[in-house]
C-alpha cells in the first residue's frame, strides 16, 4: 500500500488540525486563512503529481486514484480555495470561531474528495457523512434564526436521505453479497434475469440509492431543502454547497452507476431513462420557480437545481452505449468544472454586495454598475455563463453535454433542455438588466476587499478562458471520462 496516493486528502486533514491548534495561540486570525490556503495549494500540488501515476488504487480497491477522481479533486480544491477567499471579510459576521469555520471547511473538502474516489459502499457512506456533518454545522454558522433553521432543515433532511441511502445499500448488499462496486457488478451479471424480475428488491435498492444521492445532487423531487438552506446559510457556504458538494455527489453517482450497475444493458437503460425523466423534472421545476424569486440567493438556489438538471442530461447519456459513455462522462466532468467556477464566481460577487449593503434582494442590485463596476462586470460574466451565451465556459459546457446526449439518442431530452435554457435566460438576464439599467439607490460606491476581488477576477477570467480556449480543460475532462471503463 502506498500512502503517497492519499496525500491530497492527508495534507488537507493535517491542515485542518493545524488550523485548530494555531487558532488557540494566534492573536491575528488572518494567519489561519493563509494557512488554509497553503494547505489547499499543497494538496493541489500532490494531486497534480498523482495525475501521472494514475490509475492506481488504495486499501484493497476501496479508493480509486484515477484521472476521474483527481479531476473532481481539482474541482473541489478550486471551489474550496475560492470559498476561503470569499470568507475573508464575511467571517466578521460570525464574531467567533474562525478556526472552527476553516477547519470544518477543510474536513468537508476531505470528505468530498474521498467521496469522488470511493469505490466501495461503506467508504462511500463514511465519506458522505464526513462531508455532510461538517456542512450541517457550517450551514448554521451565522447565529441568526434563518441560519439555524437552515442548519436544522439540512441536518434533518440530510439524515433522512442518509438513512434512505443506507437502506438502499443494504438491499444491494443483501442480494449481491458484496460492497465493492466491481464485485456487485459481477454478481448482478451472474444473476438470471428472471430472478431479478421476480424479486424486485434489487431494483428497489437501486431506486433508494438514487433517492439518497438525489438529495445530494438536488434532483427533483428531493430538492425541497435547497432554497431554504441556500438562503439561510452563510453566503460563502452557499456557494460552496452549490458547487463542491454537488460535484462530488455527481462523481459518486457516475461511479456507482458505471461500476456497479453499468451492466447488463437493460439495467443501465433502465436507470438511464430514470435519470432522463428526473432531469426533465429537475430543470423545469428549478427554472420555472426561479423566475418568481426576489431574493438572489433563493434565485441562485433554484438556478442550481436547474443546472443539476442539465448535468443529469449528461448522466442519462452515460447509460446507453458503453462505447460512447466515456465521452458523456467527460462532458459531465467538464460541465461541473465550468459550473463550479461560474457559480462560485457569482456567489463571491453576491458576498461582496451583501457585505456592504446587507441585503440579498434583487431589487437592491439596481444600478450597481455605477456603484461597483468591477463586481457588476464579474457577476455579469458569471450570469451570462449560466445562461450559456458566448464567449463563456457555460456555453461550451452545454454544447458538450448536449452533444453527448444527442449521440446517445436522447434528442427529445436535449430539446426539452434547450427550451429550459430559454426560460433560464429570462431570470438571469433580469438580474443583469437591473444591475446595468436600474437607477442606483444611492451614489455611494460599494467597496470590496482585495481577497474578494482576487477571487472574483480568478473565477471570471477562468470562465472566459474556458469559453475561448476550452480544449485546455476538455483534454483533462476526456482523460477523466476515459479512466473509468
Amino acid at each position: 500500500m502506498n500512502l503517497f496516493l492519499l496525500t491530497p486528502e492527508l495534507s488537507l486533514f493535517i491542515t485542518a488540525v493545524l488550523v485548530i491548534l494555531v487558532d488557540l495561540v494566534a492573536k491575528k486570525k488572518g494567519v489561519l486563512i493563509f494557512l488554509s490556503l497553503l494547505g489547499v495549494v499543497v494538496s493541489g500540488g500532490f494531486a497534480v503529481s498523482l495525475w501521472a501515476q494514475a490509475p492506481d488504487a488504495l486499501f484493497n480497491n476501496m479508493l480509486a486514484v484515477d484521472h476521474f477522481a483527481l479531476f473532481f479533486k481539482f474541482i473541489i480544491l478550486s471551489a474550496l480555495a475560492l470559498t476561503i477567499l470569499s470568507s475573508v471579510d464575511y467571517r466578521r459576521k460570525f464574531g467567533r470561531g474562525d478556526g472552527e469555520y476553516l477547519a470544518l471547511l477543510l474536513t468537508s473538502a476531505v470528505g468530498l474528495m474521498l467521496l469522488s474516489a470511493a469505490r466501495e459502499l461503506i467508504t462511500i457512506y463514511i465519506s458522505l457523512e464526513l462531508s455532510g456533518i461538517s456542512l450541517y454545522v457550517l450551514a448554521s454558522f451565522l447565529r441568526d434564526p434563518k441560519s439555524s433553521e437552515a442548519g436544522l432543515k439540512y441536518i434533518l433532511l440530510g439524515a433522512v436521505a442518509s438513512a434512505v441511502l443506507l437502506y438502499g445499500m443494504v438491499l444491494v448488499y443483501g442480494l449481491t453479497g458484496a460492497t465493492d462496486l466491481n464485485q456487485i457488478a459481477n454478481s448482478i451479471q451472474a444473476m438470471p434475469l428472471k430472478s431479478i424480475l421476480d424479486n424486485p428488491a434489487l431494483l428497489m435498492g437501486l431506486t433508494l440509492v438514487v433517492a439518497g444521492f438525489g438529495f445530494k445532487i438536488s434532483s427533483f423531487p428531493f430538492q425541497m431543502w435547497v432554497p431554504d438552506v441556500y438562503e439561510g446559510a452563510p453566503t460563502p457556504i452557499t456557494g460552496y454547497l452549490s458547487v463542491a458538494s454537488k460535484a462530488a455527489g455527481f462523481a459518486v453517482v457516475l461511479r456507482i452507476f458505471h461500476d456497479a450497475f453499468g451492466a447488463p444493458d437493460w439495467l443501465s437503460r433502465d436507470w438511464g431513462t430514470l435519470f432522463a425523466v428526473l432531469a426533465v423534472l429537475t430543470m423545469t421545476v428549478g427554472n420555472i420557480v426561479a423566475i418568481a424569486q426576489t431574493n438572489i440567493k433563493r434565485m441562485m438556489a433554484y438556478s442550481s437545481i436547474a443546472q443539476a438538471g442539465y448535468i443529469m442530461v449528461g448522466l442519462a447519456a452515460t447509460s446507453v452505449a458503453q462505447t460512447m459513455a466515456p465521452e458523456a462522462r467527460g462532458a459531465v466532468a467538464f460541465f461541473l468544472a465550468s459550473y463550479a467556477l461560474t457559480n462560485i464566481g457569482a456567489f463571491v460577487a453576491i458576498v461582496a454586495f451583501s457585505n456592504k449593503t446587507g441585503t440579498d434582494l434583487i431589487a437592491d442590485y439596481s444600478g450597481m454598475v455605477k456603484r461597483a463596476p468591477l463586481l457588476t462586470l464579474g457577476l455579469t460574466v458569471c450570469l451570462v455563463s449560466l445562461v450559456g451565451l458566448p464567449p463563456t465556459a457555460g456555453l461550451i459546457a452545454k454544447i458538450y453535454i448536449f452533444n453527448a446526449a444527442v449521440q446517445q439518442g436522447f434528442l427529445w431530452l436535449v430539446i426539452i433542455a434547450v427550451i429550459n435554457t430559454v426560460i433560464a435566460a429570462y431570470y438571469y438576464l433580469r438580474v443583469v438588466k437591473v444591475m446595468w439599467l436600474g437607477a442606483p439607490a444611492s451614489e455611494e460606491p460599494v467597496p470590496s476587499s482585495a481577497a474578494l476581488r482576487t477571487a472574483l477576477t480568478l473565477a471570471a477570467a477562468g470562465v472566459l478562458l474556458l469559453g475561448i480556449v476550452p480544449s485546455l480543460l476538455i483534454k483533462l475532462a476526456q482523460a477523466a471520462g476515459k479512466s473509468m471503463s
Binding site: P391, I399, V406, V422, A425
Partner: protein, 498 residues
Amino acid sequence: MSFPFLSAIIFLPAIGAIVIALLRKPSQQQVRGLALLFSLVSFLLSVYLFLAFDRSNTAIGVMQFVEKLSWLPAVGSSYHLGIDGISLIMLLLTTIIGVLVVLVSWKVTLRPREYFIWLLVLETSLIGVFTSVDLILFFIFWEVELLPMYLLISIWGTGRKEYSAIKYVIYTVSGSALMLAGILTLYFTVGTMDMSVIAQTDLTQLKAAIPLTGIFLLLLAPFFIKLPVFPLHTWLPDAHTDAPTGVSVVLAGVLLKMGGYGMIRVNVGFFPTVARDLAPIMGALAVIGVLYGAAITLRQTDLKKLIAYSSVSHMGLVLLGIFALTNVSLTGATLQMFSHGVVTGLLFALVGLVYDKTHNRNLSALGGLARRMPIIAVVFSIAGLASLGLPGTSGFAAEFLVFVGSFTSNAFASVRIVTLLCAFGIVLTAGYILWMLQRAFHGPPLEQYDKMPDADRVEMLCIFSFAAIIIVVGVYPALLTDIIQMGTKPITALLGAP
C-alpha cells in the same frame, strides 16, 4: 499561412471595443473617432477581399481565404473561416453598414462609450456569422449578437424599450436553442461540423437519428424567426420601433439577413431535397408575408413602424427567391438582402434625422418638409423609390431577379401563381411608399417646422454614401451578381439545375 484577413475583419471591431473600454475617461469625440477608425479598417479589408476574390470558374463553390485551427475537438469543431460568393456579399454589406452606423450614431450623447462598445461587439458577431464554415462557430457568433442587442435596445431605445428588448431576446434564444439541437443531431448524422463538407454530402444516404425533415425544421426555426417569416415576425415591429436609430439600421440592414443567409447556406445547401419537398409551404408563407406585411404597412402612421413593417413584406420576397430554388431566384434573393439592407438602413437613418429635427414621427403631424430640408427629402425619395423597386435602383435589380427566377422555376406546381401574388405586393409597396413621401415631404409646409435645419456634413456624408450604393448596384448589378452566382451555382447543382 497567409495573412488571416477574415480573422482581422471579424476581430478588429472587437479590438476597437476593448480599446475604448480601456481608455480612461475618453471624450465622446475620441470614442466615436475610434469606433469609426476600427470599423473603417474592417471595411477596407473587406473591400480588398472583394477585389482579390477569385472569380474564375474553378473557384465556384470553393471557400476562399480559408483559416482553420483546431479548437474544440471534443465535438468535432474547429476555428474554421472562409467565404464563398454569398458570404462575401454579406460580409461586404455588414462592414459597409458597420461604418455607416457609426456615422448615423455620431450624435449619441447618452453613455457614448458603452454604446459604441456594444455596437462594435455586435459587428464582430455579425461578421463572424457570415464567415464561419464550422457549424459550432456559426452558432457561437450567432449567440454573441444577443447580449449587445439586448442592451442597445433596452438602454438607448425609446418607448416600451425593455419590453421590446426582452421580447427580441426570447424569440431569438428560442430559435437558437432549437438550432443547437439541430446542429448536434446533424453532427451525429454526418460526423463533421464543416459546412462545406456537409453541403457536399448526400444526407439522404445516411442513417439519421430522426427523419431529415425533423433536422431541417429544427435548423429552420432560428432563421424563420430572424428573417422574419409570418407568423413569427411580431418581435420585429416592436424591436425596430423602440430601438435607437443606429440599432434599427443594423437590425434592418444586417440582422434580418442572418436569417436569409442561414436558410440558403444551411437549409437549402444541406437539405436540397427536403427544401424542394417543403417549397410549396414556403411559397405560401412568402405570399402571406409579402401581402400581409404590405397590408399592415398601409395602415401605419408612425414613420418608423411603417418602415419596420415594410421589412416583413420585403423579406417575404427573399423567402420566395430562396425556395423557388433556381440559380436566378437565389441570386435575386441574395441581392434583395443586400439591397434591402442598404435601402432600409438608409430609410431608418433618414427617419432618425427627421425625428431628431422635428421630434415627431407621426405622419399626420408632418408635412411640407421638402421645402425645409430638401436634401433629406431628395435622399428619402431615392430610398423610397428603391424600396418599391424603381428601375435604376438596387431594389429593381433584386426584385426583378427574384420574380424572373421564381416564375421560371419548377420547384413546385403553383410556383407561378405564388410569384404573381408576390408581385402584386409591389403595387401595395408603391401605395404606402408614395403615400408616406407625399404626407411627410409635400403638401403645404407647416409653421412649426419653419426653422428646421437640413442635414449637416456628417449626415450628408452618411446618407449620400448609402444613396450612391443604391444607384451603383441598380445601374450595374453584375458587380455583385457575378459573385453571388459563384455561391448559388453549387447549391442549385445539387438539385440538378445547370
